[in-house]
């Protein structure tokens, strides 16, 4: 692994990452909300979305990414995703159906819209939980320092801002 400072000096990597990251994020959203019609769904979308952000972090440093998505935010989003999924189930119960019976979400029609709404909502929960979990795991790896050898190496996956040289 090259230290991040050298990665930051590579113009091709920087330009490609800068150009690719938004496209990957957009593709993640497409996979998320097109999951009912094409391949994909919340899990894949979450992974792709997190991968887009991690590519950004690999070239510009995890510190730069942490300005956008803080560690605490990822932890909250992890829980929020699971809770969103569960809340849809409980909401269905309050509307007179069984737990996670999405047809109950739309009592006016015969259930099409309920199923649609329910699936979109729970897939969103899955996507948020997965993306946040992967970001959190990435942060966990980046934040570790090598334990044994005396010289303190910088964690090399873009962990620290470029100005820091130890």
């Amino acid at each position: 692994m090259r230290p991040p400072s050298r990665v930051r000096e590579m113009p091709i990597l920087r330009v490609v990452a800068r150009a690719l990251a938004p496209v990957i994020l957009l593709f993640g959203l497409y996979v998320q909300f097109h999951g009912d019609f094409g391949p994909g769904g919340g899990f894949q979308a979450g992974v792709i979305f997190a991968a887009g952000l991690i590519i950004f972090a690999l070239t510009f440093g995890a510190e730069a990414l942490r300005q956008v998505v803080s560690v605490v935010l990822t932890e909250r989003l992890m829980a929020a995703g699971v809770l969103l999924y569960g809340a849809v189930g409980v909401l269905a119960m309050f509307l007179g159906g069984e737990f996670l019976n999405y047809s109950a979400l739309d009592p006016l029609t015969t259930g099409h819209h309920g199923q649609h709404l329910g699936i979109i909502a729970i897939e969103l929960g899955v996507g948020i939980a997965v993306a946040a979990t992967i970001m959190r795991v990435y942060y966990a790896f980046v934040g570790r320092r090598p334990e044994s050898d005396g010289e303190t190496r910088e964690p090399s996956l873009g962990a620290e801002p470029g100005g820091r040289t130890s």
Binding site: M1, D36, F37, V47, R66, Q115
Partner: protein, 183 residues
């Protein structure tokens, strides 16, 4: 076996053997990513696009990043260990048993296979009427098996919490990175 599948399978086999033999962990991490991509290609050829999607994103993408993250914490080369016989025997015996098991499987793509006659026809016929979305895989995962998927999300959440507790991350949780207590 069709030629493209055969080619991918052979490449996968070659990659796996090289990964097992390599001592350079950086190269091994990259090659595991390539192995995942080859597996994803195989899944696409088997029309399992959703699975291929996941394999490419998780195995080739994030998995490789996490391997490299772990690698940055340790040395780049694997320690030289003398070859031991017993593990090799166990692995070979397990592999042979698995291959023996595949002999009883129906031929690849066989329309008379049991799995195509139990639930699949009902699901293919009824999903459109019951759930009203065209992707049957999503309908099964999100609606018919909503409980399972909820359980899976909880598993992912638990795994994330476990990693966060075990490894911590970025020294401190909040951005006051002035003091670092870790030695």
């Amino acid at each position: 076996m069709p030629p493209v599948e055969l080619l991918l399978m052979l490449l996968l086999l070659a990659t796996a053997i090289v990964v097992a033999r390599l001592k350079d962990l950086f190269a091994a991490a990259m090659l595991t990513g390539i192995a995942s991509l080859l597996a994803a290609g195989l899944f696409v050829l088997m029309d399992a696009v959703d699975v291929a999607f996941t394999e490419a994103a998780v195995g080739a993408g994030v998995g490789t990043v996490l391997f490299l993250g772990a690698l940055s914490l340790t040395s780049r080369r694997e320690k030289q260990e003398r070859t031991r016989i017993l593990p090799i025997l166990i692995v070979v015996a397990t592999g042979a048993a698995l291959i023996y098991g595949t002999w009883d499987m129906p031929a690849y793509g066989d329309p008379d296979a049991v799995i195509h006659h139990h639930l699949a026809p009902d699901l293919i016929a009824e999903t459109e009427n019951k759930i009203h979305i065209p992707n049957i895989v999503t309908a099964i995962l999100a609606s018919f098996r909503g409980y399972d998927t909820l359980g899976e999300v909880v598993v992912i959440f638990t795994a994330g919490v476990g990693v966060a507790l075990l490894l911590g991350g970025l020294g401190l949780r909040r951005s006051d990175a002035g003091t670092e207590e870790e030695s």
